[in-house]
Amino acid sequence: MDGFIQNMRQCFEQHRAISLTEPHLSELHALQAEAQQHFLQTQPYCLQSKKTTSSSIEHLLQRNYGLQLTPCTYDSLDSVFHCSIENRNTAMFVLLNGWYLYRHSALTIFPDGVVAGSLRAALKQFPEWVLPHLKETEYVLNNDMVTLNKALFYDGFFIYVPDNVIADSPLQMVNLVRTTNPLLIPNRDIVILGKNASLKMAHCHDTIQHGKTLIDDVTHIHLGDGASLHYYKIENKEHDSLLFDHVFVEQGAGSRLYSGTLTFNAGHAQNYLSTNLRGPHAEARLNGLYLVDKKQQIQNHVFVNHIAPDCKSHQLYKGIADEEATASFHGHILVNEHATRTEAYQSSKNITLTNTAHVTTQPFLEIYTDDVQCSHGATIGQLNDDALFYLRSRGICEYHARMLLMHAFTKEITDTIDIHSLRDAMTELVEKRLRGELQSCQNCILCCNDKKELPWQMDIKI
């Protein structure tokens, strides 16, 4: 672990080189210097908290990560990356190795007033507006990766939807990595929806060229009163990547958050999603799906904080673990004293395909008022033998029978994706993944360039 701290010390020094080029960001740099101090003074908590976990990622931390000190150019992207979800109805924004790639400008302002683009540019253009949001990251969850992000980020996505604006086309934010050297990528993203604003977006973690990476992403989301956000996170990383993804949401009265966290491949991934239901009648529907095999490890941590009365939350996380993969779900529901008439539900359903795959699920309900409806449930099991037999007794071979059952299992989550092109792409990805045809590839998973005919169509649309 000392090696990692030493490595981070070097990163902090490199980071100063980036800072010096932009003296107008001095207030940010002060903030970051403080976070760097904080990081060095505390023991990396998340790295030591779970013995099994920390030992299994130790080798991933001993890699001498560097930072990408200069932005990449757009030219280099077109040749390697094409995304199938992107179509004329979807606007796509890309970060390459943590830097915003701009085609026309660093910040796009749409006719309806929606602003999307680079966080760094937004900070430059509207410092008084953006800076307060950067300060708010406290040393939360005892999670040093969040502190590390605060200490090192240099760019990220910025999205703003003004009051009463319904953004009619979905936005797609893609974090791409292309490197041959071990790289630490600390992105910071901010999504702000004004009162009664509405947005659908996908946020993808992807790779176009194999490289050993440590991604440390922090996203802050603010939902104004009555706002509605669909937020889909798609993760497809290679087997030796390390991904920490943190999403912190603040929800105003009557706001709705629909999130879907889909992990297809992960070396080692830790997803943290927390939402504060601050205004009455706010609602959060948090879904997750993971498909892991080999020695992949995935952790999903969800924290739902019921602060105001009359709020609702639903968590549904499902996953399939094959071979020697490890998956865990930690769902924490906190119902505060004043959060009367709360409805909070949590469900975690898991399938293990081998007896070497490992799944744990940990519900944690903390309730300080009587007037609540809460429930939680967790299942870990195998595919249903009776169902397998029934399918086979109609002529379907065991392999396809298993596919059908796994497909059915995942469908409950993919069906909730409310962006059509994304749902279709995800359904197809799940199928490919279940067949073992989707590797963490050098191309973007979303490319799906090779539209080769599948030998057997899993889903017919009528």
Binding site: N384, D386, A387, F389, Y390, L391, R392, S393, R394, G395, I396, C397, E398, H400, L404, L405, H407, A408, F409, K411, E412, W456, Q457, M458, D459, I460, K461, I462
Partner: protein, 254 residues
């Protein structure tokens, strides 16, 4: 001979259920197997389907001149065996349409017949839905999920119609059906009858046999067929009850 079962002995968890069962079925025939609860009727159907929880201690099953025990569960289905289960399984998330598409594709591939296009498949499905008077959109309904007992049985016959088997074994397809549903199911089975296929109807009551007229009726008791006859045997059984069989069997045994 389509199916020939000889001296079949089957046990489960050390308990012998079938104790020397014999049966010959030819194409074009309808057989009824009757018998009190717990005598091994469903066990027979499951053994033919290939469920692997049983110990087959003696005897043989020959189907289309092949040793049935050499075929996997799915190969038996592809060779034309269909079981209408007494308790069909619910499979949430798998639509009936997808299920049948997958099954037909695999059966056709096995037989070397070109697979149906999506349009041909849909047409076939619409045609076969009529056999059991189904009207729902099957692409949206999960297999047996939330179905009533009657709907499940109708769905079994629908599957039978889709797969066009050579040997169908219908296990208590009449139980739990009201008179209308019974008529629909029986009518469906009759429509599917051909000179080239055979059906074994397993039933507890004679009621179904008013609609599906069997060529032969067998009474299963104590793990073997104790009496065989034509359709009048079913009527006699209905009048005298299973006690009659039991008594006769016990006497014969002594």
């Amino acid at each position: 001979m389509l199916l020939k079962i000889e001296d079949l002995h089957v046990s489960i968890k050390g308990k012998e259920i079938l104790k020397g069962f014999n049966l010959n079925v030819d194409r074009g025939e309808v057989h009824a197997i009757m018998g009190p609860n717990g005598t091994g009727k469903s066990t027979l159907a499951s053994v033919i389907a290939g469920k692997d929880i049983y110990d087959i201690t003696r005897g043989s099953i020959t189907y289309k001149d092949k040793n049935l025990f050499n075929l996997s569960v799915e190969e038996r289905a592809r060779e034309g065996i269909f079981i209408g289960f007494q308790y069909p399984v619910e499979i949430p998330g798998v639509s009936i349409a997808n299920f049948m598409r997958a099954a037909l594709n695999e059966i056709y591939r096995y037989k070397g017949i070109p697979e149906l296009t999506a349009a041909q498949f849909l047409r076939l499905m619409e045609e076969k839905k009529k056999v059991v008077e189904l009207t729902e959109k099957l692409s949206e309904r999960s297999v047996n999920e939330g179905f009533s007992g009657g709907e499940k049985k109708r769905n079994e016959i629908f599957q039978m119609a889709m797969l066009d088997p050579e040997l169908s074994i219908l296990d208590e397809t009449d139980s739990g059906l009201d008179i209308d549903a019974l008529r629909i199911v029986a009518n469906g089975v009759n429509q599917l009858k051909k000179a080239s296929n055979a059906t074994i109807v397993i039933t507890h009551y004679q009621r179904l046999l008013d609609y599906i007229i069997p060529d032969k009726v067998h009474v299963l008791y104590d793990g073997k067929i104790v009496k065989s006859g034509d359709k009048t045997l079913a009527i006699e059984l209905e009048e005298k009850g299973y006690e009659w069989i039991k008594k006769e069997y016990e006497q014969g045994k002594c």
